[in-house]
């Protein structure tokens, strides 16, 4: 048993000396407030009112019967773990998205909302 003690200490030291971990967080930020959507009315609110409330959109897409304004921001979190000869990496990216549809008269007709950015998480790849 005594014979094994020294190599075991060496291996443990190697394990800790050669190990490291890292975390990273990236944010693509647009300061729109999704709660302000409650103040907008489908069939009444105009594109101008929407941009006044939410700010300029991240993207505008021309559709068959009008336009869609896309508001998007993202949060991503990365985790890295290096254990001697094995390394693990994990990257998780989620979005907050609002897509607002307008008719040809620029009146809001529909909208869809997904607020998932907060679900980005640190972790291991299994």
């Amino acid at each position: 048993m005594k014979r094994l003690r020294e190599p075991l200490y060496v291996l443990l030291l190697v394990f800790f000396l050669q190990s490291c971990a890292g975390w990273a967080k990236n944010m693509e930020y647009h300061p729109f407030d999704a709660a302000k959507l409650d103040k907008l009315t489908v069939g009444k609110s105009t594109a101008a009112q929407v941009t006044e409330m939410l700010g300029p959109p991240s993207n505008i897409v021309k559709l068959s019967n009008g336009n869609a304004y896309i508001y998007r921001r993202s949060l991503s979190k990365g985790t890295g773990l290096w254990l001697l000869i094995v390394s693990f990496g994990n990257y998780d990216k989620h979005y907050d998205q609002i897509v607002i549809f307008f008719d040809k008269k620029n009146i809001m007709t529909h909208y869809g909302i997904t607020l998932d950015a907060h679900k980005a998480a640190y972790g291991l790849p299994f």
Binding site: V14, L84, K93, K119
Partner: protein, 147 residues
Amino acid sequence: MVFPFKIFPFVMYPFIVGSLITGCVSYRVINAVEGRAVPYIFEEFRIGRTTLQEALQTLGAPDQVAELEGKDVLIYQQSILANSGLSFGIPLADIWGPSFNFSAYGELVRYDLVLLSFTPDGLLSEIASEKGSRYPYLKTMLSEMQQ
């Protein structure tokens, strides 16, 4: 003066063993997920009956919006990247010159996708979906690409 000699092996052994081991074998696993899980609850949708408003209420904001041949297309997608690599080498460069190094790396990106197409009146005209995440990493990587 005795102390430094006693501690010497505990400083040098880890350094030597660590350098040799990390120079010889390494294995890495990387996983990257972008976007939320695609909601496969569109089975309730009916072509010609489901409206754009119902789809948006059920599925939330789409990841992509586009016009295609007079129809409005909504795309919901999640990408899943899996990467792994195994490397084995014998670091002889300092002693002998050339070193032996064998390595294998693989990267697979899979997509879960749902495409919904709507007429200008806002009625569902087409549904298409793909669940790439059902394909296992290793089996897919080792298989031949389907034509």
